[in-house]
């Protein structure tokens, strides 16, 4: 651990009122290394956690992540508190301000590297993080299921252990006893031999004088006292009595409200605005043309909304006004065909010789799948409050990436970033949508033109029609089975590749694989949507695996189990889900059971769905989920995230469909972009494996397996294979469904 002193620093100080502040920064370190060029100054850090110990012995940690419902503040607090031997009932978390010191390179690395291990904190942060760091300089992101994996493992635990070490040293100095004789628990230092004890806070002055950085020793799993337990989340009480403050709840003195409408066709611009009809409307103050959207500022939001419906806007066409959804799928098909014809295939993965193995196989199975665009539809519509005053701009919004939002807003109103302050608020859902700063840029532009604070609120219609969408896609498969029904060749082609890179890859032992894609851009904006590319490839690959099992005449679970012989972690997760679900036990008529497994963001998740087909519609009654994320620091939080990811994915599988009509989004609100509701919500049970492997995420990995597990269950129930989502577009009453035959 000799590297600790070079690559990390600890600063201590006593603040006014006697609060001890301990700052722990881990920086790239060795300035001669390749990292040096990325480090702007001596003080620049890659992770920065502040721990404050108040005179009343309350401990506050300031962390660089937003909580959007995933409970990460609680989990990160647990990691810090456990290593610190803190009194859990007196631990508080504060989100760090949007500031470059909190730019989260480790997050960038975790997101960028995806599946790669993230072992000992020092070696990796120093040697591994810079892979794509230059592209991620502005990031202070919460996403990629990485808060616990990176900030938690790298910074919170280290900060807790380092702080405890400093306090012990301070106590040893104060009491003139050897450190080894001291114990810490519940935010107290004890010296049993002399029967002395004192709260951490009483050593503030001594601790602040210590200049030698300690060597933090992290606890082993069996020493955990808070990590791994089901503590109650810190944010829940404020979310049951209406006191939790989201971005939309910000109130400022003299604040006005704004509504906005953007050009319905992506890429179109505003040619003219006729605001005659709103000139004399009560409360209306200003009409602002952004060039691609128009906003109206009024005394109340409802007044602004009514006015926005009355103005007449003419748009300049970008040439996309005739695009239909079918044109987009035709474009994809053509791109795939021409990539094959011209040999212009973008290679994703090549193992062995798949074409040759296919030719030599006994049976060839082929299938093509499609998925539509999806909107995020967070419950809280996009909104931002902005106030430009005294040469500064203040922003209040819920964002997954505060630093980049502040920078984009600064650029939009031509202001120095140093004069822009973003106050991050609770997020009423994120799911990837609140990575995109469009609404914050609009709010800043409005505020730059008026002398008062303005709260911009998007209507649900605006939110749905101007999202950044999970892409529509097509995936084609060809596979070969040998005489024993074992797959020998796997050929897969899809359209466009985003992140993470390994999303289309399968864990199964198939010797010859060729996975490739064709580029085919559209005018529809793309965005990270819970689990990103995994959300589509989980459905594609695990549906096709089911088709292979059926073609091989094998049980879908046993078929997968046998092909995971060399992937024991996967096999254990699959087996646990199957066992807990009672795989193989009889079900009533028109009921079916389906299984799927998929790894994303470092976590392996298997799900078994029990479905009933009634009146041509599927009703998922029960979902059994097994997850191996290495270790569950907050098991109930992990269960909650599995439930959440499953229902989010279930909504997409059953109903999710954003379609393009005349170049714009056809859907507008929850009546035509339906959600799973209470009456359709399955019972969900989650089983956790603590394998001790590297830490995986929780926010996203529940989502990819649910769609294929459900459609596989539908096939099991009635023999109809769903190859295109959403399921609502299929009539499950047809007995001679065209998709029933495989191969």
């Amino acid at each position: 651990m000799g590297k600790w002193s070079r690559r990390a620093f600890v600063t201590t100080a006593v603040l006014a009122g006697g609060t001890l502040a301990i700052g722990i920064g881990i920086r790239p370190g060795d300035r001669r290394s390749k990292v040096a060029g990325l480090v702007a100054g001596e003080e620049e850090t890659i992770l920065n956690v502040w721990v404050k110990i108040s005179p009343d012995n309350t401990i506050t940690a300031i962390i660089p992540h937003a909580d959007m419902g995933q409970g990460v503040h609680t989990t990160l607090a647990m990691m810090l508190a456990d290593e610190l031997d803190a009194d859990w009932s007196a631990v508080r978390m504060l989100e760090a301000p949007a500031h470059e010191e909190y730019a989260n390179y480790a997050m960038a690395k975790g997101y960028t590297l995806g599946e790669k291990d993230f072992p000992s904190f020092l070696v990796d942060t120093v040697d591994g993080f810079f892979l794509k760091a230059t592209q991620f300089k502005d990031l202070q992101i919460t996403g990629g299921s990485t808060s616990v994996r990176t900030t938690g493992m790298v910074a919170m635990r280290v900060a807790g252990a380092a702080t405890r070490s400093i306090l012990k040293q301070a106590a040893a100095d104060a009491w003139q006893v050897p450190q080894e004789e001291l114990e810490t628990r519940n935010s107290y230092v004890y010296h049993m031999a002399s029967n002395r004890s004192a709260p951490y806070a009483s050593f503030a002055d001594q601790a602040a004088e210590l200049s030698i950085p300690p060597v933090p020793v992290l606890k082993s799993e069996k020493e955990f006292s808070i990590m791994g337990t089901d503590v109650q989340r810190l944010d829940v009480p404020s979310k049951v009595d209406g006191t939790a403050r989201f971005g939309i709840d910000v109130v400022l003195p003299g604040m006005k409200y704004a509504a906005v409408i953007a050009a319905p066709v992506f890429g179109d611009t505003v040619k003219s605005v006729d605001s005659t009809a709103v000139q004399n409307m009560r409360g209306v103050r200003k009409v602002i043309n952004f060039g691609d959207a128009v906003a109206i500022v009024a005394d109340g939001y409802w007044q602004a909304r009514q006015a926005i419906d009355k103005i007449v806007i003419e748009y300049e066409s970008s040439g996309n006004g005739d695009v239909e959804q079918s044109d987009i799928f035709d474009q994809f098909t053509a791109a795939m065909d021409s990539a094959n014809d011209d040999g212009d295939q973008q290679i994703d993965l090549e193992i062995g010789d798949a074409e040759a193995a296919l030719s030599a196989s006994k049976k060839i199975v082929e299938a093509e799948y499609r998925v539509p665009y999806l909107a995020h539809a967070t419950m809280e519509p996009m909104n931002c409050t902005a106030w430009v005053h005294d040469g500064e701009c203040e922003l209040w919004t819920g964002t997954q990436n505060p630093l980049a939002f502040a920078r984009k807003a600064a650029d939009a109103i031509d202001m120095d970033i140093a004069n822009v302050t973003l106050h991050n608020q609770l997020l009423g859902g994120g799911f990837g949508r609140r990575m995109f700063p469009d609404y914050t840029i609009q709010a800043a532009k409005i505020a730059a033109q008026v002398p008062y604070p303005v709260k911009l609120i998007w209507s649900r219609e605006e939110d749905m029609r101007h999202d950044h969408y999970r892409d529509a896609n097509i995936s084609r498969f060809k596979a070969g089975l040998d005489a024993a029904g074992n797959p020998t060749a796997w050929i897969n082609q899809y359209v466009e590749k985003h992140d993470p890179a390994e999303a289309p890859h399968i864990p199964y032992g198939i010797d010859n694989q060729f996975i490739h894609f064709a580029n085919s851009k559209t005018h529809v904006p793309w965005g990270n949507w819970r689990s990103v590319d995994h959300s589509l490839h989980g459905f594609f690959t695990e549906s096709f695996m089911d088709e292979l099992a059926i073609a091989a005449g094998k049980d879908p679970y046993e078929f997968r189990h046998d092909l995971l012989e060399k992937a024991p972690r996967f096999q254990a997760v699959l087996d646990l889900a199957a066992e807990k679900a009672g795989w193989g036990s009889p079900l009533p008529e028109n009921w079916g059971r389906g299984i799927a497994i998929h790894r994303s963001f470092g976590s392996i998740v298997a799900e078994v769905v029990e479905v009933e087909i009634k009146g041509g519609k599927p009703r998922a009654h029960r979902v059994v989920c097994a997850i191996d994320a290495g270790y569950a620091f907050h098991p109930d939080g992990m269960r909650a995230q599995m439930e959440s990811g499953i229902i989010y994915g279930l909504t997409a599988a059953l109903y999710g469909e954003i379609s393009i009509h005349r170049g714009s989004v056809a859907q507008s609100n929850f009546h035509d972009y339906q959600m799973v509701r209470m009456k359709e919500s399955p019972e969900i049970e989650t089983h956790i494996i603590n394998s001790g492997e590297s830490i995986g995420g929780a926010g996203e990995p529940g989502t990819p397996a649910i769609a294929p597990a459900l459609t596989n269950a539908i096939y099991d129930a009635i023999g109809i294979r769903i190859r295109e989502l959403p399921i609502k577009n299929h009539d499950l009453r047809l007995e001679d469904h065209e998709s029933k035959d495989v191969a």
Binding site: V240, D241, T378, M379, R460, E643, G645, N669, M675
Partner: protein
């Protein structure tokens, strides 16, 4: 001027009578626990009680609620005045995630429990399917309602 009685207090508001109750509650009254979600009575985030019954405040003109009893999440209970059993059950079951829809969920659940102290799964489906939750807290909401119902039964047998 329109007179609204919210959480037992009378207020005179200078507001266009067609304005949805939601915006009067949030902007004029400053009670931000009631949320905007869809504006067309599809998601339930704006649920409040009108004379004890759940309504969608985003489509209820403020004049339609004049001189009647309106209850918002702020009138249900809090740690200082005492939590409603539904709120306590929500904490016990760790229901909320992002929390944005939960005011509306709780208002629907409180209304359900006030007229049916032993709701079946079907009763819960009926009463709660107007409230969307994107974080997927439905299984915990169901457990929360059942726990609250059990707490009520216990209280009564104790009393």
């Amino acid at each position: 001027m329109i007179t609204l009685t919210i959480n037992g207090e009378r207020h005179n508001l200078d507001v266009d009578p067609d304005t949805p109750l939601l915006w009067a509650i949030r902007e004029q009254m400053g009670l931000t626990g009631t949320k905007f979600g869809c504006g067309i009575a599809q998601c339930g985030a704006c649920t409040v009680h009108l004379n004890g019954s759940p309504i969608r405040s985003c489509v209820t003109p403020v004049q339609a609620a004049a001189n009647q009893n309106i209850t918002t999440i702020e009138g249900i209970g809090n740690a200082d005045t005492g939590l409603h059993v539904i709120q306590q059950a929500w904490i016990d079951e760790q229901v909320p995630q992002c929390g944005y829809c939960q005011s509306g969920q709780i208002m629907s659940a409180v209304a359900l429990l006030s007229e049916n102290q032993a709701p079946s799964d079907e009763d819960i489906d009926r009463a709660m399917s107007g409230n969307i939750c994107r974080c997927g807290t439905y299984p915990r909401i169901r457990k929360g309602i059942k726990r609250a119902a059990a707490m009520l039964t216990e209280e009564q047998s104790d009393g």
